[in-house]
Amino acid sequence: MNLTTAIRERVRTWMPLEDILPDQLPAFVRSPAYFFGVITLSSLVLLIISGIILAAFGPQWWHVSPIGHFVNSIHFWCVQAFFFSLALHLWTEFFKAAWRHGRRLTWVVGAITFVAAIGTAFTGYLSQTNFDAQWIAVQGKDGMNAIGIGAFFNLMNFGQMYGFHIVILPLFVIFLVALHMLQIRIRGIVRPYAPTLKEEDERESLWRHARHTPSSPGIAQGATDQRPLLSDQGRYYRGLSMMPYDLIKEGLIAMAVVFVLSVALAGFFSSPDDPPLTIQQYAQNDPVGFVTTALGELNGTGTIAQYGPPYNNGTGSVQYLGPISLQKLVGVTIPIDAAQVYVLQPLTIAAQTDPSLASSLQAFTQASASQQAAWENAYTTALGKATASSGRVTVPSGNYGPLPAMMNSLLSLGTSGALDGLLLRSKGFFQNDFTRPLLFLSEDALPAKAQQFNMLGSQWGMMADTGNYPGQAWLWLYTFWYQIPPYNASPDGDALVWVTMAFLTALLVFFPYLPYLNRLPYYLGVHRLIWREYYHDVRALPGRRRGNAGPVIEHSE
């Protein structure tokens, strides 16, 4: 067998150029409900172009350059335009039941594209290197960790998220979109529902089982098999009036419209960019809060210290699905010893040039565990009455051992900005993983700031953005579950939300395969509005009344 010949003949049969680049369409395509696919595609093209410009200058460029900020604003509004048109495309294709007549895989690919696009946008929000990115990372991590994904897909690892956003996921989306378009062009646009379900079922059985190859190689017509070919649009559109159409022109017009719109929105509204919160700001603005958080990491009572996988072997934030914890199954992949990372290691470095701190540190580390615990408990209680002045925290007199000296030294590291750098240090020179500082800030400082923006989880935070900008409105359903029982009261809430969303996503993707349910659009009847001229014309046929299938002139093809 000549593989080249086989592939060439199959491509020729499946994808005639007249179908790939059509110059006519059925006349029932006269509703704006058919616009949204091409608008989505145009938005994607502009997203890619603006994204390439942003990537070429690096992730910090748009923070320091007005031109960069403007390009970022165009990128931001293109994202909004993309999801706006994508949602409308999804709705309209649903009500048209566009999976009929052998198009179920076209729907599946389109729905997977929608999910992949959400992932691409999500990693984009994580790559903004501003407060929004910080907050989404620490808020989203629990959901990822609850089902074990967080062990490998770390939202706080900027380098990983940036790579996913600018390379891996866009390539995946582009591949899916290309496949989706190819499927549409090979099969053609789905016909309106037949006037009766009986006729629709006949049409469905004919076209669902279309042949992939002609009975005789290279000969599409006159074959003995009466089933139509996969790409047989001449036969599929029989009985329908065709009208002139310019695919390329429509695409260019849509792209121009989206471009003008996104530039105008970028010019008038800019894009959100609230600066990131630093540990230095936290230490300066809330010294007592900073010391309290650090002490929690030291004595093991902090959220991160007790978190569990993927950071440590704690149990504080481990979630279960019934008897199974995917989080525990995956295990510790991003090890963080909270006491060492946030307190003892930074102080050890600082002690190299501070003999007083060195002796305090030595006194603490050489004390027994029970002595350490006694000092920590006493100091924790005393912090409730602490005051701060001149960069030092003062507590009422008591037996705290070396802790006041240690914590004030750590506070000095924090207020000077040194701790920001110390938590980022790695074995190598370069750093792009912000897990450790973000986890520290996630204890207290980031939630406090997020609450000011109404971005907490209980406030539909995942779909919100800073200021008056639209956020990730497409995450409304994901965010919705966190507001209602049992999700908002369960210790396994994140895992339950993920399972629910996985089920609903599977329902969306495989909806065409669900018997009875896949007829929902027919009974909802929106298609009668979209194709009302078609049904008017069919009803006007001689002897044909509504719901009456005949009369027909029958002859086999």
Binding site: S73, L206, G239, S241, H536, D537
Partner: protein, 118 residues
Amino acid sequence: MGVLCSHGSQVTHTNLLLHVGLSSPLSSMNSEYAISNLMVEEQKGNHAMTGTTQYFHVGFILISLANLVVIALLVVVFILAVVLRRPEKSHLSTLATPANAETSEVTGGKIVQVEERP
């Protein structure tokens, strides 16, 4: 110019672009000027959008006004898309004429003779 001052190092660059544009006798045609004007507008827009956030709060539903506007627009555009028509196509019949036997409607392998739209 006050709106530019909140952006620190951006001020110099934006002012420079503005200056270059205004100093040209063809400033209105100068693309750099146009871009700088857009960026000046962008800074103003930034301030308008970073003001006090407006929220819609009913029961457990808490949604920013911006997200609510987006969702409301989605619904409105969807309804318009379903109801409206492309006017240039309104005269066309959706069904083929009976004279053209090659374009008769396929229904379950059978051909239905159709008529032109009245």
